[in-house]
């Protein structure tokens, strides 16, 4: 693996970035072909060559749902450090992502490097919009727990804002707000939980404008908020009303299948691919790469996964490519937006009546 640490997080322009990432991805395709038999079968069965992709578009991809249907591991059972599972809210069957120590460590390091380009090097006091009790069991680790643990490296004085029943823990929140009223703090939570269990109760209880220099990272999908007709703009406006006009708010797009290399929203409201990862949009019908401006299925690429063949995954999310290297925020790389899940006719098994 070439040294990713020397790369500027959002500093590589197209040619340089593609060259670096392509060689990493080709290396990983070959690695997984050797170490994961079902993946090798998949390549062979589809007539795909491992490691000879000439462009990012050519890198073989695995359909995300396969992680729910198969145990895909490129590491020996003895080396499994923990297994991540998806939240499983929209489907009964959960993804199983096998991590060894190297992949888990790389995930954390990349995530910290990436997000600290927004927060700065110094660790900030951190308010976590969740309850304390998600990260205990390594064997069955949820996406929520992994997210909280991953981001906790960016903070200090980690304070959990919620009780186990999801109600705000007011004494703890009030204490945190009083202590850090004028310091740049970090807040992290899953989008819906931030909205439902923190911002709404905060407004309802008359607490407002108490953390003006805060930075809020949130992630985890918009479906529940769309159901309540809450757009990203409404979300931001309301959060600023509750916490302060100067609050920086960054959504990010990521998934349990590729923890670490997330796509963070910039000041312009665009999701950005960092140097370590990329995104390709594919026509939902032909699966051909889509041009800028077109809607397509989101494929995510990352140099991180070595313990499972997840370096190139075709998701079931729809998005739109907005551009490359030319976002007004100044960051290089591709930028895009996420439009939600691919609508699909639900496959119903014989037993659904029960």
């Amino acid at each position: 693996m070439s040294d990713w640490k020397s790369l500027e997080v959002f500093g590589l322009a197209k040619a340089e970035k593609h060259a670096w990432l392509l060689s990493e991805l080709n290396r990983l395709t070959q690695h997984h072909q050797v170490h994961c038999a079902p993946y090798a079968n998949l390549l062979a069965g589809q007539g795909l060559q491992a490691g000879y992709a000439e462009s990012l578009d050519d890198v073989p991809f695995v359909a995300a749902r396969l992680f729910k249907m198969l145990h895909l591991s490129s590491t020996l059972p003895d080396n499994v450090f923990k297994t991540l599972t998806s939240s499983g809210t929209t489907s009964q069957v959960k993804s199983q992502i096998v991590l060894d120590r190297n992949t888990a460590a790389l995930q954390s390091k990349v995530l910290v490097s990436l997000l600290s380009s927004f927060t700065g090097k110094a660790r900030r006091p951190m308010l976590i919009i969740d309850h304390d009790g998600l990260t205990g069991d390594k064997a069955g680790f949820s996406a929520r727990g992994a997210g909280v643990q991953g981001l906790s490296f960016l903070g200090r004085d980690h304070t959990y804002a919620l009780n186990a029943d999801m109600t705000p823990n007011w004494p703890v929140i009030d204490k945190f707000m009083a202590k850090y009223a004028s310091e740049p703090v970090l807040i992290f939570g899953f989008t819906f939980m931030v909205w439902q269990h923190f911002i709404q109760p905060l407004i309802a209880s008359g607490r407002s404008n108490q953390l003006p220099p805060a930075l809020l990272f949130h992630s985890g999908g918009w479906k529940k908020l769309q159901d309540q007709a809450v757009s990203n703009d409404t979300f931001k406006t309301t959060v600023r009303q509750a916490l302060g006009e100067q609050v920086a708010i960054h959504n990010f797009y990521g998934m349990v299948e590729q923890i670490g290399s997330v796509f963070v929203e910039c000041e312009e409201g665009h999701l950005h691919a960092p140097s370590y990862a990329d995104v390709i949009l594919r026509d939902p019908e032909t699966l051909a790469e889509q041009q800028v401006g077109k809607v397509g299925l989101i494929q995510v690429l990352s140099f991180i996964p070595s313990s499972y063949p997840g370096h190139s995954i075709l998701t079931e999310d729809l998005g739109r490519m907005l551009g490359e290297d030319d976002c007004p925020c100044g960051r290089k790389g591709r930028y895009f937006e996420v439009l939600g899940r691919l609508p699909k006719t639900e496959v119903r098994g014989c037993g659904d009546v029960f």
């Binding site: 079902p38 006719t345 009546v353």
Partner: protein, 373 residues
């Protein structure tokens, strides 16, 4: 908890019905089904509803009536109270088993999924309007309820025959609810279906017709029915002919299966050791034997090459149901069924056509009793 019950058609007072006195092929009931059939065939309903209308045409009902005519030794009588649990993947299936139960003179309660499909809505509206005109459903009910309620328990104690069309898992869960000793039970669990094709040069002129039939079998219910063919065994068939067949099938399946589903299905079967040999509107994966039989895949068919019938029967899983066949004579079919659990054969294009003998069971027989005189 006995709340959350919804009655879509018929009479909601089933727990109060007194003993039925209706006999099999009761003329009023035959007439009700004839009117239902005519209504379904008189307008442009979906293919599934039209098929139901055709199945219940009067000439068919009269033919059955003759087939089951009483003689001086045995008289046919209803079972009595029948409780049918229907699956949600084949939303029209309940109508067939209900129609047979109804025709046999039974009181019937049918449980359907709480989320009605458009076809189900249409059918219930039609049944309600016929019921309004004829009171023909006074001892029938079509209901939904929450699975956590105790209605399955109540109805299991109410019925004399419990008929479950469901997944293995759901059947096992319902079986936790004890059925009284005097009641019977018939189950229709998870099944897997295949196609066995034996083509020669002489069949080339028939190829497009055959392909059309196969495409109909896989596109109906998006391959999710137990009788939908999911694997093709090629029996002594030239590979050039196979390719011609798939090209002809491909033409009939435009826009049927979403690309992402085809990709997932194909990648899954390849990961298990298959090789993609055809890709288009449907993908074909070759394997030495059946792969991925426990997943609900869409837009993919597996295939294996077989030089003798023993090889094919050895590949059949225990829960094999239908074989949509071409080119097999009766001796070949008998050879296949004696060495496997095959429960029915179908012509190409007719794999999903319901028959009163289904899954190896004569439904009219189990929905009635034969009283010796």
């Amino acid at each position: 908890m006995s709340s959350n019950i919804q009655c879509w058609a018929g009479s909601p007072d089933y727990l109060q019905w007194s003993r039925t006195q209706v006999m099999p092929f009761n003329e009023k009931r035959v007439q009700f089904l004839v009117r239902l059939s005519e209504a379904l065939l008189s307008r442009h309903y979906s293919a599934a509803l039209t098929a139901l209308g055709f199945w219940l045409r009067e000439s068919q009902l009269r033919q059955w009536q003759q087939e089951y005519a009483n003689d001086d030794k045995v008289i046919l009588a209803p079972v009595g109270r029948v409780f049918i649990v229907s699956p949600s993947n084949v939303e029209g299936l309940f109508a067939y088993s209900w129609a047979l139960s109804y025709l046999m003179g039974n009181q019937t309660v049918v449980r359907v999924s709480e989320q009605l499909t458009d076809d189900q809505q249409t059918l219930f509206t039609l049944l309600e309007s016929l019921h309004f005109q004829t009171a023909g459903l006074s001892e029938q009910a079509f209901i939904s309820y929450n699975k956590r309620s105790d209605w399955t328990l109540k109805l299991s104690h109410w019925c004399q025959l419990r008929m479950l069309w469901s997944s293995d898992q759901s059947i096992e869960s319902i079986r936790q609810i004890i059925l009284p000793a005097q009641a019977q039970e018939w189950v229709f669990p998870d099944r897997y279906s295949v196609s066995v094709l034996y083509l020669t040069e002489a069949d080339v002129p028939k190829l497009s017709k055959l392909a059309e039939g196969f495409a109909r079998d896989v596109s109906t219910y998006q391959q999710q029915a137990c009788a939908s063919p999911k694997w093709v065994f090629w029996y002594q068939t030239d590979k050039v002919l196979q390719r011609q067949f798939w090209k002809a099938v491909d033409v009939c399946l435009e826009d049927v299966f979403p690309a992402s589903e085809r990709l997932i299905a194909s990648q899954y079967l390849c990961a298990l050791g298959g090789v993609e040999v055809f890709h288009g509107n449907i993908k074909v994966i070759e394997g030495s034997g059946i792969l991925g039989g426990d997943q609900h895949l869409e837009g993919v068919v597996g295939q294996s090459q077989c030089s003798d019938l023993a090889m094919i029967s050895a590949q059949m899983p225990n829960h094999i149901q239908s074989v949509a066949a071409f080119g097999l004579d009766q001796a070949a079919k008998v050879a296949l069924m004696t060495r496997s659990n095959v429960r029915q054969f179908a012509q190409m294009g007719h794999a999903l056509n319901f028959d009163k003998v289904w899954d190896g069971i004569d439904l009219t027989t189990i929905l009635s009793k034969k009283v010796r005189l």
